[in-house]
Symmetry: C2
Subunit: 419 residues, 2 copies
């Protein structure tokens, strides 16, 4: 590749490599450009080596390790010798301990905050960037039902397919769906959960999504399965959900709407289920407020933010919703992502054919980086069950989640929340 | 009783009764003073009647329904015809819907914020007010182990004794205690949980409490049970906890330390369990930030505050603790309090002998009011399980909480949080 050459001397390169290694908290990985490297080859116990192709890439890395690495890796100007996930894990852990963010990363982050704001129109643009990639791409590495959120593994040996079905059941049981009830779903992906709820729990679902491609596929599936009278797929923003429902379900949408819209979402939920309903939000979260890396926001998830629990409470507290149950499934997302990445690698040639090498490499980095982030605890996965102040019946405990038999309304495990 | 007479005419009394009834949101209860009443006797469907003895009491009620009712009821100047709990439930629900707080209640509330601040010395004063009441009093209506926090009823027919033991097991299982581990307990009451952990889970416990009376009794129990080498009871503030531990446990203390000290508590926890430990906080909470009624703070729980979940997160978020599990046991606290009040009433004569009629009536009102507050959802009970960023092992799911067999370290249900 012909690129503008950056006139660094070898000693400047060497100094920059050391500076970058220091700025990411001295992880046990090696950075190298030609014969220059940091730490030097005398240092042993190195997990993996980052090979930097040219001085321009080195300069970009020095400016912002996150954006520089993301762009360099995607474009093939950075190669990794060793395990990519372990490398990223080591770097994320050491960056967290070092607690340094470059001024350039901060600047990019600020700019993205403005450029990717989740207005009604902005959300459509942001969501289509990710979810309107052809479904053929996702079919290469997701489960057959195309569930693109954290799975739930009842056993350590459960397959991805089993675990995605188990996740959908876990969600349905958590909100104790009863036959004939009406459910609103916000952000329904390709429709797997909406169809599962209708098929196995006998509820009526109205499911919302602003990805045209996903809604189209979901509708086709409903027709094929004869569920089109029980499940309505609507191409619209969650802010426009109308009607009244017994339960509100949203799996993997909160990350996309932006913290400034949480109270707005709470208002939508309160408008649709009132004080008598209940619901569940399932979302990627954090231990404390923090942005996604600027590279992830630029290339993978425009406008996305994984909130801390305190931030997420802005959905519930203004509307007197009671939080009944929060479960952190971080370890299950690690497992899910490991299985996704495994399938992704096995379909590598097809992925490249569909998206080209650069996008394929960007996605590999995103999946590997997500595994690393969940492993070191930079990311969490929360399921929050909540109920309105006048919800008449709440399960007495959570034992029914761990029993084969679904809870039924006549069970003694029920108690009236108000007498 | 000879009291300064308040020169209200009958028509002013009648007007004040209507005004008070309106200010508490028109619940279906009747207020009466002599022959005056609101709503008038033509209104049917009345749950209970509040009989006000004199005009002075009426004036106090008009100034602040909460303080006026609390003081009036305690001193016998207010009597209730009908079920006290149902009356309070109706009033709490209608007050919440009406959303009115008198200026006088606000003023008292502000003053209490200052007067009852939880400095090291202030906390001692606040805690002794409640917990240094003679244990003979609590023995009259708590379970035999004197567990003065929300119980956990595995079955709807569990007794209070069974439910308190089940609660202690629920807590121990939630933090997956393993034999030989070291546990810090903050706010240990009369020692039941510390002794339970040592006896049944083989851990070493150092338990802290600033109530002299409680620590004395706890130490006696440890000796009697031969656990004095495994459990150390220390009369000191949680802020002075020293040493390093595998787990941090606190049941029913967070309500007493004041929201301004949450980050401080987080610091104490982080100092004692580091990034590798885990723990549980069990506390009375709320759906959104709100104070206890000024009467409760004045007479029953000086310096107390039940936080919303967002407020409680101030303990965890600054220290990169991961919240793993939140369970809302509000319905279990309702049941616990109902059983407490039932025992309390059956021991009424002994309670009066010990504390006098006025304090006995104040406690009856506090227990009845707490039942009402949990029933209408003004209060919640949260158990929050958390772990440090480097906690090596976290259970794979929560199924072990609902199984007879305790989880063991060799079980496949374990997963390393970091690989």
């Amino acid at each position: 590749m012909a690129r503008a050459s950056v006139p660094f001397s070898r000693s400047i390169c060497s100094w920059l490599l050391r500076k970058i290694h220091k700025s990411i908290g001295h992880p046990n990985i090696r950075l190298s450009l030609g014969r220059e490297e940091a730490p030097p080859s005398t240092v042993a116990d190195i997990l993996a080596t980052v090979r930097i192709a040219d001085r321009r890439t080195l300069a970009a890395l020095a400016l912002s390790p996150e954006v520089g690495f993301g762009e360099g890796y995607s474009e093939g100007r950075i190669e990794v010798e060793g395990d990519l996930v372990r490398l990223l894990e080591a770097v994320l852990a050491s960056m967290r301990d070092a607690n340094t963010i470059s001024w350039y990363s901060k600047l990019v982050s600020r700019w993205l905050d403005r450029a990717q704001a989740n207005s009604l129109r902005g959300s459509v643009r942001n969501i289509r960037h990710h979810y309107d990639l052809t479904a053929d791409f996702y079919k290469l590495w997701l489960d057959p039902q195309l569930v693109y959120t954290c799975a739930y593994f009842p056993e350590s040996f459960s397959t991805l397919e089993q675990a995605q079905v188990a996740k959908m059941d876990h969600v349905c049981r958590k909100v104790w769906l009863q036959p004939g009830e009406r459910v609103a779903e916000a952000g329904c992906g390709w429709g797997a959960l909406a169809l599962h709820m209708a098929r196995h729990y006998g509820v009526k679902v109205r499911a919302f999504n602003i990805s045209k491609e996903q809604i189209f596929i979901a509708r086709e599936r409903a027709k094929k399965e004869g569920l089109q009278h029980q499940v309505e797929f609507i191409e619209d923003d969650y802010r426009n959900i109308s009607g009244s429902y017994d339960a509100f379900v949203s799996v993997g949408m909160l990350e996309h709407i932006g913290t400034q819209n949480y109270e707005n979402l709470g208002q939508v939920i309160h408008r649709t289920i009132g004080d008598a309903g209940r619901g569940i939000l399932h979302f990627i979260g954090r231990n404390f407020p923090h942005s996604f890396s600027p590279w992830i926001r630029k290339r993978i998830f425009p406008g996305a933010c994984a909130p801390s629990l305190a931030q997420a409470m802005a959905v519930f507290e203004p509307f007197n919703f009671s939080v009944l149950d929060v479960e952190n499934l971080r370890n299950h997302y690690t497992r899910t992502l490991e299985l996704w990445l495994d399938r992704f690698e096995r379909s590598w040639d097809d992925v490249v054919k569909l998206l080209g090498t650069e996008t394929a490499r960007a996605w590999r980095l995103y999946l590997a980086g997500s595994i690393a982030a969940f492993r070191v605890g930079n990311l969490q996965l929360f399921q929050v069950v909540f109920a309105g102040a006048k919800c008449q019946k709440i399960p007495w405990n959570r034992a029914h989640l761990y029993s084969e038999r679904p809870i039924e309304e006549k069970d003694p495990e029920w108690i009236r929340a108000m007498s």
